[in-house]
């Protein structure tokens, strides 16, 4: 999906020439939350999302991710769309699915006018720090497991989903040497609870090998998932490796759904990926 300058998706039309944003995501069940919002009620909306997400079984750190994603999409509807909208959240066995709709008319001229007016206003008040609404959407793609947007004459609809934690192995780190490389195997979820240990381990590995080149392979085949804290830890690890003379890092065996998420979030360029530790060892 492409977006225009203000972070909203470009209009897409069906062969019939009309779109109905809601039709792509019509749910069967009753939503666990159904709330209208406008500029004055974004705080209330965030509080309601946090409460319902936690109640539905989302871990508190993932609930924070859901709150920022919903906020950014709702704020887009308020600032660049109709000025108000509606949020609905459904719970299935595996996931929470949220739909944010506005019934605005994303007419190209209107959208441009609104954007220009906003830029003019923000320049008058705070010339030094210009904000770019498009970045709200890129963060949504980074924190949500799946993001889809559709837009037409009837308004814009954004759907995001967040997986509920499935039972899986607990977090564990194992390290061994293979083919002259250091292989760090990550098992379980990389999240708020485990990211600090992961980051410490990476920092220690880089310190231990300060005078020599580190060839680090992260074996992520048993990684079950991440939240924004875990994803940030991976980015920071890559940053530290890149800043260390002679050090290199490859992510090996990343499960397909996580690799797809990296691509959707435009983060895949930050990392070198390999199918397995063995192929990684050949290319590193």
């Amino acid at each position: 999906m492409t977006t225009n300058g203000d972070g909203r998706p470009q209009s897409t039309t069906t062969p019939q020439g009309t779109t109905t944003p809601q039709s792509t995501t019509t749910p069967q069940s009753t939503p666990i939350l159904d709330q209208a919002f406008d500029a004055g009620s974004l705080y209330t909306l965030r509080a309601a999302v946090a409460a319902h997400a936690t109640q539905a079984g989302l871990a508190p750190d993932r609930a924070d991710d859901l709150v920022i994603a919903v906020h950014e999409l709702a704020a887009n509807a308020v600032r660049h769309g109709a000025g108000h909208g509606r949020l609905r959240i459904w719970r299935s066995d595996q996931a929470l699915r949220c739909e944010i709709t506005d019934d605005g008319v994303p007419d190209a001229e209107d959208a441009k006018d609104a954007e220009n007016a906003e830029n003019a206003a923000s320049e008058a008040q705070a010339p030094e720090w210009r904000t770019e609404p498009g970045h709200g959407l890129s963060l949504v793609r980074q924190v949500a497991d799946h993001t889809s947007l559709s837009s037409g004459r009837d308004g814009t609809s954004a759907t995001i989903s967040f997986a509920l934690a499935a039972s899986g192995p607990p977090f564990r780190l194992d390290r061994h040497q293979a083919d002259g490389c250091l292989v760090l195997t990550v098992t379980g979820p990389l999240d708020l609870a485990s990211a600090a240990e992961f980051s410490r381990t990476i920092a220690d590995l880089l310190n231990e090998n300060e005078n020599g080149s580190v060839k680090l392979i992260l074996d992520l085949a048993s990684l079950t998932g991440w939240d924004s804290v875990g994803l940030a830890a991976l980015i920071t690890a890559q940053q530290q490796v890149s800043a260390t003379q002679g050090a290199r890092m490859i992510l090996a065996g990343l499960p397909a759904h996580l690799e797809q998420h990296l691509r959707e979030a435009n983060l895949n360029d930050r990392f070198t990926l390999a199918d397995s530790p063995a192929t990684a060892a050949k290319t590193i």
């Binding site: 704020a75 705070a126 990211a195 940053q239």
Partner: protein, 290 residues
């Protein structure tokens, strides 16, 4: 003597008898740390009387970058309780308190003295508390034309307006934290030690103007800028980006300056996802959830 408009804590000079009002203990510790820091830097003796234990008081100062150990060891800094100074048990006497102050002023001599007094003792069941205005009047007279400055610290939430008004007239200046935004959801104010701004509550684009002003003023000061977001529960992308852009803007002109972001792990991750790791002048410091 008249009370001027709110003065910045960093503007206080010798022979000031200033009335500081604060809204929460974080603010009290921050403003006190700046008062103590500037006093120590100026070579003055610094005394802080508070209802915090001396250990807690000095720990709070140390946490804000004051070199507490050396100053305590040399006797330049004293953190103490009220007992034997302002109070004898639960009894207050303006005369006794002035005797103590005169002795402190004499001890400090030409070195000069900075005295901060947390006035929360006057909220307790203290006999003689009605002598508080008399005490303030005598302090004002005693410090005029000397190298002594006194900072009386009043909790504006706990002292009633009548008491605050009755003592205000005896102060040369009124001091408070510069506040850019304050409502039930969000507070944006200046932080004095270490210098920067403090954000508490929930921050989204609707308060972007206040944040921009606070950042602009913080950047205008010299040295590193701390954005203390430890008490911040939420920040949206446009405000987070504004902070990152401020840090990005610092780099070319003065490479040695840094912007330090203090926040919970979840917010730190948000800054990383928005590109914090790519900004050389930026340091992310993660603080534990309270």
């Amino acid at each position: 003597m008249t009370v001027g408009a709110d003065t910045q804590i960093t503007d206080l000079t010798v022979d000031d008898h200033a009335c500081l009002t604060f809204g929460e203990s974080e603010e009290l510790f921050d403003l006190t740390a700046a008062f103590v820091r500037d006093g120590l830097d100026g070579g003055l003796k610094v005394v802080w009387l508070s209802d915090a234990t001396p250990d807690r008081a000095t720990a709070e100062l140390a946490r804000r970058g004051i070199a507490v150990a050396e100053a305590l060891a040399s006797g330049q800094l004293v953190a103490a309780s009220y007992e034997g100074r302002l109070l004898a048990g639960q009894v207050f006497s303006a005369g006794q308190a002035m005797t103590w102050l005169a002795a402190e002023m004499a001890t400090a001599g030409t070195q000069g003295l900075r005295l901060a007094v947390d006035m929360s003792w006057a909220l307790g069941p203290v006999f003689g508390v009605e002598q508080l205005p008399e005490f303030e009047e005598k302090v004002a007279a005693a410090v005029t034309g000397t190298t002594v400055s006194v900072l009386c610290q009043y909790d504006r939430e706990r002292f009633d307006p009548v008491t605050l008004a009755s003592v205000a007239a005896f102060h040369t200046r009124s001091v408070a934290a510069a506040t850019y935004h304050a409502d039930v959801m969000l507070r944006i104010c200046r932080q004095y030690a270490p210098p920067g701004i403090r954000l508490a509550g929930e921050l989204d684009y609707q308060a972007a103007d206040s944040l921009a002003l606070a950042l602009t003023e913080a950047i205008r000061l010299e040295g590193d800028v701390t954005i203390n977001m430890a008490p911040l529960a939420f920040i949206d992308v446009s405000c987070a980006r504004m902070i990152l852009d401020a840090a990005r803007g610092l780099n070319p002109s003065t490479p040695s300056r840094r912007v330090i972001l203090r926040c919970r792990p979840g917010l730190a991750a948000r800054f990383v996802l928005l590109g914090a790791a790519d900004i050389p002048a930026l340091s992310l410091v993660t603080v534990d959830d309270h």
